[in-house]
């Protein structure tokens, strides 16, 4: 029953919190979002210099050996600042796949570059027909001598426009929805036969649709054992859920606190609107939703650090359910309590709400994870 952080974790949290507070103002963030890249390469280099891009990886791989708790602390603070730099896509997802299943050569070639900030990456796992089923794949990889030939289509690949390489899921055997037969491959962004359609997402990030038309990769591009990639993707996505969920908790904290402050100062009928009982109760509910999410975030992080097991998966799904429900409640009420201002692009409130809405959909929504929780 110890919820305190050790010295290293506290230092990490302080460092990220300070950066977000002092160097990640909302107006600057908006300029970056509207830029061509959609994120700041300068800030990405700062992340690398501060060692944040290596927190997720083991010391043997050149990282700092952080676990789920460290990831939670970083992402919660990223959420407070609506950080748009592609930490999730590059470090947690694509980097995570290599961390869990990459060969020593793959780690040396790609992870080292991720950690020093010189390369960006993306995980291409979703397909239009699959919804949230990670095993539902029509993309295939067929053995051709010492190579694999990949054909198919990948949807909403986060950080697709900036990625130097992709970790792509493809079916090497089995039927369309079989868990067995899923394999992972590293595909460079200049691979012949790979085409992209880049676009912004609702929350200001960037994504791509990938078409793989006879993309040929060598055997050494295979990540993990052939046909055994489902477990890797499932693990990486659960890491991703913890990351975006933590981000959502940070978003909710800002929304709740900003709303309380606004209601204390905004006057109607000669008094602050925060004096109205019905609004007070709504704010109490917002606070409670945030605290419930935060509590389940702690539980999920602790379970993941204890080892990846059905209990950990269950805790992650419980967290995702709560974040989906709470995020919508807190976001919608923050917008409503801010009145007309809540809808405008100039105020940060709507941007947090949009991020929370996207997070609910990422990696499976409330319904999906409620079923998964019941099943596990």
């Amino acid at each position: 029953m110890d919820f305190s952080f050790n010295e290293e974790q506290t230092l990490l949290e302080d460092s990220v919190a300070r950066f977000v507070q002092n160097d990640y103002g909302f107006e600057d963030r908006q300029k970056v979002v509207k830029s061509e890249d959609g994120f700041s390469t300068e800030k990405w280099q700062i992340f690398a210099e501060l060692g944040w891009l290596g927190v997720h990886f083991s010391e043997a791989d050149g990282g700092f050996g952080g676990g789920a708790v460290e990831s939670m602390l970083m992402l919660e603070n990223f959420g407070k600042g609506l950080v748009v730099e592609p930490y999730l896509a590059t470090v947690v997802l694509a980097g995570g796949a290599l961390k869990h299943a990459g060969t020593a050569e793959q780690k040396a070639q790609y992870l080292t570059a991720v950690i020093d900030g010189s390369k960006q990456a993306a995980l291409a796992y979703a397909e239009p027909q699959g919804r949230f089923n990670l095993a539902d794949l029509t993309t295939t990889a067929q053995k051709d001598g010492d190579n694999y030939v990949i054909n198919g289509y990948k949807a909403v690949v986060l950080n697709g426009p900036a990625a130097d390489f992709f970790v792509v899921t493809a079916r090497t055997s089995g039927a369309q929805r079989d868990e067995a037969g899923v394999s992972l491959f590293i595909v460079r962004n200049d691979a012949k036969g790979l085409s992209k359609r880049d676009y912004p997402t609702v929350d200001g990030l960037r994504a791509s649709e990938l078409t793989l038309d006879g993309v040929t990769v060598a055997e050494d591009a295979l990540v993990g054992a052939e046909g055994d990639g489902f477990k890797i993707v499932e693990r990486v996505v659960d890491d991703g859920i913890l990351a975006v969920g933590s981000e959502a908790v940070g978003c909710m904290e800002v929304l709740y606190k900003d709303t309380v402050e606004y209601c204390k100062t905004r006057e109607q009928f000669g008094q602050p609107i925060g004096k109205f009982q019905v609004l007070q109760h709504r704010m109490v509910d917002m606070f409670m939703e945030h605290e419930q999410s935060k509590s389940l975030m702690y539980m999920a992080a602790m379970r993941m650090d204890e080892g990846y097991s059905p209990e950990a998966q269950k805790a992650v799904s419980a967290f995702k359910v709560q974040v989906g429900k709470s995020g919508r409640f807190v976001g919608q009420n923050a917008v409503q309590l801010h009145g007309g201002m809540g809808m405008t692009d100039e105020l940060n409130i709507g941007h947090y709400f949009k991020r929370l809405t996207i997070i609910d959909t990422l990696f499976g929504n409330v319904d999906f994870h409620l079923k998964r929780f019941g099943r596990l």
Binding site: D2, Q280, H281, V284, E291, Q292, M299
Partner: protein, 383 residues
């Protein structure tokens, strides 16, 4: 700590405790904490005043130990496990009792005397307090929602004397006292109304003094506050719901989904309770106002109660009191009959918990004022 948890859980799961559990749900009119064997058990295990510090005569447990004990109790029993002299009267005398009042603690900790705290009135505004001790040492007025007054040997009465509030130690059979039962939603009689008609008291019966209306407010909060570990009660109810769903009686996607949602909400509540406990152990501000934690727990208890009732369908309808009066077996399943009772009791608990002020209003006051949240609720819960 783990050894302690195992020990307490093992004791609760023993045969002896199971018999108490049965006893608690039987229609004997005896609450668990009023059963002589259970009272002996409390004494023998040094569980009297489990939340009290050593200086009060309690075991002096850490916040975590208290949490585990209460949670284990709630997991095992529907009834309160501590008698009202321990829940209500002892803490009141310890905080506001005078020399004589504290002298009464010996009888309380030995469980020799049955007490009840007569505190609430129709209006909870201190200025409207109508139970008054006149200069002639005559006590007049009325009290309502007095918990377990019908079984009390003695009453600790809060009365207004001039501008101050005093605590009076009065035998319940003193001439001029009329105690009338208030039948609750579940058919239980746990509350009573008391009328004081010129009851003669002496100066020696003054057992303490509340120095201000703020102290009176604190006493009200203290009396209605629930201890940490309420999640144990919800867990017990959820087990019943899960059994119903898994047994196929109420197997449906709808029930499975509701069950999963409630299990997740329960997990969140457990972690929130643990965060409050952990904060109190390290002397840092509590992350969550106690009032809100109570409100959340009670709301969840009601939701689980609704789910349990729904899973039983029509067999939640039979009224257990009437059926047991005729010594007949259960109609449908006995669990269905107790489910409706649990739901009604939970509703009563919500009502009682809000007596000292709406929990949401209290939480809003704490949150909006930005006050340090080591408020009175946390102190009550964790001390």
């Amino acid at each position: 700590m783990r050894r302690f948890a195992k020990q307490s859980m093992a004791q609760f799961s023993s045969q002896l405790m199971q018999s108490f559990s049965l006893l608690a749900t039987k229609q004997t009119g005896i609450a668990l904490w009023d059963d002589p064997t259970w009272r002996s058990c409390l004494l023998e295990n040094n569980w009297v005043g489990a939340s009290w510090p050593l200086s009060w005569g309690g075991p002096g447990w850490t916040s975590e130990q208290k949490f585990r004990w209460y949670r284990a109790c709630h997991q095992s029993f529907e009834d309160y496990v501590e008698p009202p002299e321990i829940r209500d009267v002892g803490p009141c005398l310890q905080r506001w009792g005078n020399h004589r009042g504290r002298g009464l603690m010996a009888g309380i900790t030995s469980l020799d005397v049955r007490w009840s705290l007569a505190l609430f009135e129709g209006s909870f505004t201190p200025a409207d307090f109508a139970t008054k001790l006149a200069s002639s040492w005559r006590l007049s007025g009325s009290k309502t929602q007095v918990r377990f007054a019908l079984r009390a040997d003695r009453l600790l009465v809060v009365a207004k004397q001039g501008e101050k509030f005093v605590l009076l130690d009065i035998a319940s059979d003193t001439p001029g006292i009329e105690i009338a039962p208030m039948v609750g939603l579940a058919g239980d009689v746990t509350l009573a109304q008391i009328q004081f008609n010129d009851v003669l008291v002496t100066e020696e019966q003054i057992a303490g003094e509340l120095e201000s209306s703020e102290a009176l407010r604190q006493l009200c909060y203290q009396t209605v506050s629930l201890e940490l570990g309420r999640s144990g009660a919800i867990e017990r109810q959820l087990v019943a719901a899960r059994q119903q769903v898994e047994a196929g009686v109420a197997a449906s996607a709808e029930f499975s989904s509701r069950l999963a949602e409630l299990e997740i909400a329960l997990q969140a509540l457990v972690i929130m309770e643990k965060r409050v406990v952990a904060a109190s152990a390290t002397d840092v501000p509590s992350p969550i106002p106690w009032s809100l934690l109570q409100a959340q727990g009670l709301a969840l208890q009601l939701e689980v109660g609704e789910l349990v009732l729904d899973t039983f369908g029509y067999y939640a309808l039979p009224y257990p009191d009437e059926i047991s009066l005729h010594n007949e077996g259960p109609i449908g399943s006995s669990s269905g009959m107790t489910a409706s009772r649990s739901m009604l009791r939970a509703t009563e608990q919500v009502n009682y918990a809000n007596l000292a002020g709406d929990l949401y209003d209290i939480a809003a006051e704490e949150l909006l004022s930005g006050a340090d949240r080591v408020g009175m609720h946390e102190k009550i819960a964790t001390e």
